[in-house]
Every structure is written in C-alpha cells, then in structure tokens.
C-alpha cells in the first residue's frame, strides 16, 4: 500500500499540486502582497515536496508545502500592497443601478485600504476564508495554530475592518 501511494507517483503529485497550488499562492500573496514571491513560493514548496517525496506521505503533503512556503519568506519580506481583483462578472448579470455599482466600487476600495492596515495574520485568515472559502480548521492547519486562534483572528479582522471603513 505504501509503495502504491506515494507523492513520488506522478499522478499523486499532480493531484496534490492541482488541489493546493492555488491556495499556497494566495496564502503567500495575502501575507506579503507580492505576486512574484508567491509564484516563487509555490515553485519552491512543490519542488521541495518532489525532492522529499519518499519521506512525505500524501496525507502530510499539504501541511508540508504550507510550511515550506511559509518558511521561505519568514521575516524576510515586509508586506506590500495586497491588490485584490473584484469579480464584476457576477454583477454584470444583475440589474444593479449605476449608483449601486459606484457605491460598491468605492466600498471595495475602502475595504482594500482597510485590509492593507490589518496585521498580516488577520488579513491572511480573512482572505483565505472569504476568497478561498477555507474553513477555520483548514486555516488553522496551514498556520499551525488552533481553530480557536483562527476564530479570534477572524473576529478581530472583521472588527478592525468595520472600524476602519466606518471611520471609528
């Protein structure tokens, strides 16, 4: 059984990559706001996974790549501006008024600025949950903390965002 299902199998490796590469990319991007570094982190993490494929079981591959990606830039780069896209295609189908659209656009800009000012761990948690639809448990696994800690971060993130947007 262990012979059949190792990360060294091309299919298994490709599977793990397809499942997690995008999130690894986003994870690093949310932390530092640098796309290039996020791309590098993905490469580095999965190349390391491939090199250590004999030692890392498929079950542990996920946390392995997050750890590698995270360690790569640990204390190395400072957060740059996190620029997020706004999926306007969902809006196109709706019949919103131009005023509403403008208001939404303005709100999005406010939100981005507010996100910018968040501590890195709160921003990462918030965006992983909102954009990548990651459960708190999953985020906790990536960050290597308890679910409770992630809930706390999310709570604080929301609170800080609202305060910033409402100018409190």
């Amino acid at each position: 059984m262990k012979d059949k299902d190792t990360v060294c199998e091309d299919d298994t490796f490709a599977n793990i990559f397809n499942l997690h590469s995008k999130t690894v990319f986003n994870y690093i991007y949310y932390k530092f706001g640098n796309e290039e570094k996020a791309h590098d982190a993905v490469q580095e993490a999965f190349v390391k996974l491939w090199e250590n494929c004999a030692k890392v079981s498929p079950a542990k591959a996920k946390s392995f790549v997050y750890t590698v990606a995270n360690n790569l830039y640990l204390n190395v780069i400072k957060a740059e501006k996190v620029r997020l896209k706004y999926a306007d295609k969902t809006l196109k189908t709706t019949q919103e008024s131009p005023e509403f659209l403008l208001e939404e656009k303005e709100f999005k800009e406010k939100l981005e600025r507010a996100l910018q000012s968040l501590p890195e761990n709160q921003r990462t948690t918030f965006l992983l949950n909102r954009i990548d639809r990651k459960k708190y448990a999953e985020i906790a696994e990536m960050e290597g903390v308890t679910v409770k800690a992630i809930e706390k971060r999310m709570h604080l993130a929301l609170k800080a965002l609202r305060a910033k947007i409402d100018g409190i």
């Binding site: 990559f17 397809n18 490469q43 190349v47 896209k85 706004y86 939100l111 909102r130 992630i150 929301l158």
Partner: protein, 304 residues
C-alpha cells in the same frame, strides 16, 4: 453574545436569537457589506498548469538537466586529462634524459655524482650520465677532459669517442680531444679499452694516444692532473694540441703562421695568466707571438 461572534456570524454559526441580536447591533450594515463585497473579491490570477509545468521543468527532467550540465564538465575533463598527460609525459621524458653538464672555455666545474664520486670537468668539455640508473651502473659519457675521483663500488665506466675507461674505485684523468686521447691513473687500477684492445693502467701510469699512436708514460702516484692546479702540462705532445688547450683555457683565439704544428712540446703553461702562458709556450718552441685583444698570432721566429 458569545465569544468571537463575528467569525461565527460570517461562518453562519450563530443561533437565531444571536443573529437577531447581532442584526440589531451597531455596525451591522457595514459588516453585511464587508461580507457581500469580500465575497466577490478574488486573488490575482494563478495559472495552475503553467506553474505545474515550471515545477516539472525543475523536477522531472532531472536526467536531461544533468546531461546538459555535465557536458561542459566532460569537456573540461578532456582538456584537463590532456594537460595532465602532456605534463606527466614531459616529466617522464625529461626525467629519462641524462644529466648533462658542460663547461665553457676558461671554466672548470666540479661535479659530485650520486655516489659521492667527484668529477672535475676541465674547460670546453662536457659529460652526461643517467642519474636514475646510477645505482645499477655508473656510466659517464665524456667529451673533453675530466679528472675522476671514483668512490669504491660497482664498475665505473667513462665512455669517450676514442675509447672506454673502466675502473672500480680510483683517481684518474681522461682527455679526449680531436685525435688526442690520454688516460692518467693516479690511484688504483684502470682499464682502458681502445678499439677492442684492453690496457690495464696501474697507478702512476699514463696512456696517450695521439693520431693512432699509443704511448705510455709515468705520472706521480696519488697525484692529480696539473690542470686541477690551474696549469696545463704536456709531455711530448704535438704543438697543435697544446695550442688547442691554450685556446680553451684562456678563451683566446689562436692563429698560426708558418709554424710546424706537429713539433712536439714538453712543458707546462699557466691556466690563469695568459701572458705567462704565452711565454711558456713560445720560448721553448722558439716561436714568436703577437697578442692583441682576444687574438694571438704565433709565427716563426725567422719570419720577418
């Protein structure tokens, strides 16, 4: 309201009552908006296929990458191997060459051989020997004149064009110049082989071969050839050889005019005083000389 209610709310984990309470609370409108807007946010584009291809390039074609990176390395190895071969070849070749020692005119050299035998090489002479083979056979090739103090041991051979001298441990002098071959034994016994004929030469004897004529004479036992003491001594030697030796010792060009070069000369001349040497040669031979710069002209006494 329970702890971290905001994260519970966005995760839709609040109870009906809690939700009701939250909706009534201050800031709910903004929270609702944050939720709605952030739902439509997305991260920068990430091309999974492209990223995977990039990783495959770094991982899968390991063998290919290795071949590529090895290529310049093997080329380097080839060059390095060629250089090593050349150097070692040259080293072996040069090492196999005999040790070669030569003296210029007016120069003497003392050579200590590997077995501590001594050779004093007179002016304008050269010798060679194989240092590596010295332990098995003591062979020296000589052209010119040299005095040998041979340490006791295996057969010691001095080969010249005119003949071969073989000894076991002794002191002897060998001269081989154009048409002139002389071996003087000062100690022990030497064997001289000239054209297949062996002559045993005991201490105090000299063997001279001038233009095919072999003659014997005596020298001082346990002595040494006079040139060691910066003098050249001749006993019934044709003048041509004497003048040749003078040329070598003083590095002076000799020109003769109307002189019988076959006339024999017996005497000694200094090797470091040219003026004195000229007199030592000319007076007993009854010839005159003119010494100018680096040239000396010998001419018959009765020539005008």
């Amino acid at each position: 309201m329970q702890e971290n209610h905001l994260s519970k709310w966005i995760d839709q984990e609040l109870t009906e009552a809690e939700l009701k309470e939250f909706k009534a609370s201050e800031g709910y409108a903004t929270y609702e908006k944050i939720k709605a807007v952030s739902d439509r946010l997305s991260a920068p584009d990430f091309d999974t296929d492209q990223a995977f291809a990039a990783i495959r390039q770094r991982t899968a074609p390991v063998a290919e990458t290795k071949v590529l990176s090895l290529r310049p390395y093997t080329r380097f190895l080839k060059v390095a191997a060629a250089i090593v071969l050349l150097i070692s070849g040259a080293y072996v070749y040069l090492n196999s060459l005999d040790t070669h020692i030569a003296t210029q005119f007016a120069e003497n050299k003392t050579i200590t051989l590997p077995d501590n035998s001594n050779v004093i090489l007179n002016a304008g002479s050269q010798l060679s020997y194989d240092e590596d083979q010295w332990d098995t056979e003591r062979n020296i090739t000589l052209s010119g004149e040299a005095f040998f103090k041979v340490a006791k041991g295996k057969k010691f051979t001095v080969a010249t064009d005119a003949g071969t001298v073989t000894v076991l441990g002794t002191q002897f002098n060998v001269v081989q110049r154009d048409g002139y071959f002389k071996v003087s034994c000062y100690e022990g016994l030497v064997s001289v082989l000239i054209a297949g004929e062996e002559t045993r030469l005991p201490a105090g004897k000299t063997l001279t071969k001038i233009k095919g004529t072999i003659s014997a004479a005596s020298v001082t036992k346990n002595g040494k050839p006079s040139w060691i003491d910066k003098e050249s001594t001749f006993q019934s030697v044709p003048l041509r050889f004497v003048l040749d030796e003078f040329e070598r010792q003083h590095n002076v060009e000799v020109v003769t005019k109307a002189i019988d070069l076959d006339k024999v000369y017996t005497g000694t001349f200094s090797n470091d005083n040219t003026e004195l040497a000229l007199k030592s040669i000319s007076i007993p031979s009854q010839i005159k000389f003119k010494f100018e710069g680096n040239k000396v002209l010998f001419y018959a006494q009765d020539t005008p």
